[in-house]
Symmetry: C2
DNA sequence: TCAAAAGTGTTAACCATACACCCATGC
DNA sequence: GCATGGGTGTATGGTTAACACTTTTGA
């Protein structure tokens, strides 16, 4: 492999991408973190991500990094924003463009990558110390979800395709950080036709089994455009 | 001045900042554009902006560029996001981090900068052709305002400190692109105490003079946190 | 006296809120 | 039969939506 250098007339920062991967794991909203194997922040937990290739788009870079690091290639990415404090990376000036995505656990086969970096899901309300300014990035992502949840239906592409309404409700509660009224929440979902009941039930505990529902995609999109607040 | 080069082991993109400056001009929501004096896109209209200094924060870079280019140093900046299509700039790979800000015309003394680049306000619904992907950036900013206006009170720091309610209403209408009911709009603003009436009137046309109002900052902040939709 | 923009109130339908009890199951 | 989470209905008050006419001014 040829050794090469890149020369510029003016100093250039490095550009990286990072991604907050949300998933529903053990009935909670969690994010996927990687334990760093190198300095800086060796052994700390960090968002999956890496440096931008000079010819690839920002989204391609995220998809490539996630494929490599968590063996999952997301279809949809949503930009959180750019994080560029001059000292956010001790090595050199690095601007990170952060994204978030949803991972339906049923669709993913997560394996630690070939480098055997450790991967783990963490409940959003119980995160470990994070490398770099990754906590700031996660918090920015959560703020976006908090706003989203108050303006549009939420959960499609994140929850399993068949789910209990109480699971959807608890994801909402994880995001907004306060309890919702069960009766009102269900009434609204059904009234606007956002979910349709199935004749299937989930028996995961020694209690009454819960009915499963699917999103009604047509109405989901309709109210995504029109706007709806399921949190009240 | 010493000639110097900057050498990296991996290729680095350039990083720029651009800013959509919103102002209320001739009773409309307008943005400030600069006519480019150099290639590429010579003579096209473009957002004010420029390259990031290697040691300055993203926001500092925007403030510096706006000071230089439009003689106005904004206090608050809001990030739109990063725009990084590989071919968005024909010169080299450039990632642009875009911001928007509000400029109260009463507080600014805009002069074309020393380089005598032409500055002009353009109504958001009647923009000229823009350089680079700046139309995409402006549209992203407008989408943010469209969402904002449906979730929080809007206009503080943008409108003159004393204004007619019909001016505020028409700014809302510029953003959402549809007419609002005058009675309902005013009723809501007053009911929630978002504005307070003054004993001053504006006579700018040969008709009945309009009462001026100020924002009630305390309630404005309160409903910004709590959320309110003045568009319905 | 006309044209133009400012300003004002009421009603009916809908929606949000708050709240408590029964159901189905496995142990 | 009990513990646990699943599931349901109603009444009240507040919010939205729709609507048309009078006022003030300068020309």
């Amino acid at each position: 492999m040829k050794k090469q250098y890149y020369i510029y007339k003016y100093p250039h920062p490095a550009v990286a991408v990072d991604c907050v991967v949300f998933g529903v794991v053990s009935s909670c909203l969690e994010i996927l973190l990687i334990q760093r194997r190198n300095e800086p922040y060796k052994d700390s937990w960090a968002l999956p991500g890496g440096f931008l290739g000079i010819d690839e788009s920002l989204e391609e870079a995220v998809k490539r990094e996630l494929s490599e690091e968590i063996n999952y290639r997301p279809e949809y990415l949503y930009q959180i924003g750019a994080f560029g404090d001059p000292d956010r990376d001790p090595r050199e000036r690095v601007i990170s463009i952060a994204y978030y995505t949803f991972l339906q656990i049923e669709k993913a086969c997560l394996v630690a990558n070939s480098d055997a970096a450790k991967l783990e899901w963490f409940y959003i309300r119980n995160l470990p110390n994070l490398a770099f300014d990754h906590l700031k990035i996660v918090n920015a992502a959560l703020e976006i979800l908090q706003k989203k949840v108050k303006c549009e239906p939420f959960g499609y592409g994140l929850l399993p395709s068949k789910f209990r309404l109480s699971l959807l409700q608890s994801i909402y509660e994880d995001i907004i950080g306060e309890p919702l009224d069960k009766r009102n929440f269900r009434k609204k979902l059904l009234k606007y036709g956002l979910v349709k009941p199935l004749n299937e039930f989930e028996k995961i505990h020694p209690h009454r089994p819960a009915r499963l529902y699917e999103f009604n995609y047509e109405n989901y999109i309709k109210y995504k455009e029109k706007g709806i607040d399921l949190t009240r």
